[in-house]
């Protein structure tokens, strides 16, 4: 049984937008741009237009006005699709090298190659279906063990119905990401990888999401991934409450700059053996260098068991997040890892260079 408790702070405003890092652009709710009110997954027409007109760099805009860019931001560019149908395609590839400058070789991972669709059952989009299907790579820890694990490489990471009951209440039912913490895109972050929230950890469940001008409250009951065997399913309940204090604190923020932090406790109670209490910290600061181009630094910590003889894992990263044009994202990150412990033995610094390309049509 896994019990996790997180406290998160998104300085500037309370909820994530496109990426949570872009909270610095002062959009206060994910549902503005995403079909999923907690972010992730396909973006809606407004989100596409916003990416084109506010986020992406201008160098490749070929002199088009923001209005023209917004109008051409759809799946087929300017061509209008039926009101009830919004398709999308996503591809995300990663090249990584450990100990850059050393003898190691590059490793390429096609992390995401999928199609998605949003179907609307009414013009007000009060009743919609969102689904995706595509290729998911076998995790590295399982790929060397043929026969022992049956891992399907063609999966749907999400498929759910969304019902907007009224102006403040949204209900979701189906398979989707669990509602918890900052939905950073880095699925190897301790806040995701050690809490059952990694790239393929979606679960079937029901979400009720209240959105008020000053606060948001969500409850998520989940029964695990029903396509998995019963003993692998992660069942449980999560809730999240966000309060916007930003109006009073907003003076020093904005223009693409934001600071994110999440501190959590993890109580892991295995079927055999003692329960373990650990912690994690995720933090990141980001700033816009020029339109479409951002620099960020990150600091993460993790300890599986809060005991003196256990190491604290300590990870620091610097990087760049680039949107040269709508539909295209590049991310570069240089990550340093260390261990903090009582032992006098010191492991050498571990460095990893990561380059990620993301195409979202």
């Amino acid at each position: 049984m896994l019990f996790i408790l997180g406290v998160l702070a998104l300085f500037n405003s309370p909820s994530a937008w496109a990426y949570p890092e872009f909270i610095g652009y002062k959009y206060s709710s994910c549902v503005t741009c995403h079909y999923n009110g907690h972010g992730n997954g396909p973006i809606n027409d407004y989100g596409r237009a916003l990416w084109a007109t506010e986020i992406a760099g201008r160098a490749l805009a070929l002199g088009r006005t923001p209005e023209e860019l917004g109008e051409a931001s759809g799946f087929l560019g300017r061509r209008e699709l039926p009101w009830w149908f919004r398709p999308g395609l996503k591809g995300r590839g990663l090249t990584m090298r450990t100990s850059p400058g050393g003898d190691s070789t590059d490793r390429f991972i096609m992390m995401q190659a999928e199609g998605n669709v949003a179907l609307f059952f009414d013009r007000d989009q009060r009743h919609i279906f969102v689904g995706s299907f595509g290729h998911a790579p076998i995790p590295n820890r399982l790929s060397g063990q043929p026969g022992e694990y049956e891992v399907d490489q063609w999966i749907s990471r999400e498929h759910y119905f969304r019902w907007q009951k009224n102006e403040v209440l949204w209900i979701y039912a189906g398979m989707m990401d669990k509602v918890y913490g900052i939905r950073t895109v880095n699925h190897t972050a301790y806040s995701r990888s050690r809490t059952g929230l990694a790239m393929n950890d979606q679960a079937h469940g029901i979400v009720a999401h209240w959105i008020q001008p000053k606060y948001e409250f969500t409850v998520n009951g989940f029964a695990g991934n029903l396509y998995q065997e019963a003993d692998l399913r992660q069942m449980g309940l999560s809730s999240m409450w966000e309060y916007e204090y930003a109006e009073a604190k907003r003076s020093g923020f904005g223009n693409g700059a934001a600071v994110l932090a999440e501190l959590g406790l993890i109580r892991n109670e295995p079927r055999t053996g003692k329960a373990q209490l650990g912690y994690y910290l995720y933090s990141e600061a980001i700033q816009k260098i020029a339109r479409g181009y951002h620099a960020f630094v990150g600091l993460q910590m993790y300890k599986g068991r809060m005991e003196a003889d256990q190491s604290d894992l300590f990870k620091t990263s610097v990087g760049a997040l680039m949107f040269p044009m709508q539909r295209v994202e590049f991310r570069f990150e240089l990550e340093n890892a260390k261990q903090l412990n009582q032992s006098p033995s010191v492991r050498r610094d571990t460095w990893v260079a990561l380059i990620q390309a993301h195409l979202s049509l």
Partner: protein, 200 residues
Amino acid sequence: MINLICIFAILSSGFQAAAQAQAKSKTRPRKPWMQEVQLGYTIWQESIALKNGAFETKMQAQTQGLLANYGLSKAFSPRWVGVYGIDAAIGTLKGKGESVGIADELKGQLWYMVGLNLGVMYRTSASSAIGLHIPAHYRMIKWKLDAGSALETERDASFSIGPGLVFENKVSDASFVRVAVTQHYQWEATMFAFSWKYQL
């Protein structure tokens, strides 16, 4: 007479323009020097030579400590800011000899560090800045060895300099979170510093 008046008028207008320019330069608000203080945590790892009789080895050492800085900054354009500061730090170091011949374990070794820090920051927005700095650091390690130990340690007092990247985000009117990553040349170490900066 008319000519004289004209000349006087021309001279007068010239003097007036000069006086106005002088008055403007006197009334124009000068960009002030800003004082700032920082307090934070620093960590880095480096390789230190150990010697015991005929044996020599390296020790991978981990250094952690508290870092303080007092700085003066001045904007020399709307975007660019020069920063001049002094650093002071204190902490402990640990490590273990990497060969069987010298497998000594050293823990809690106290060190002090002082330094100068020059940098330039580029304001990416009203609430954020990125920059480069070159700290020059002088560190003394107060090695505490077992009585009678023949172990000889390197870097009792050492100097290192190197360039670094600085990243600052504002979190309130006068407070910033600040991350600096510096590649120290002589110590062959990547120094990470996470600090809170406050503008006085």
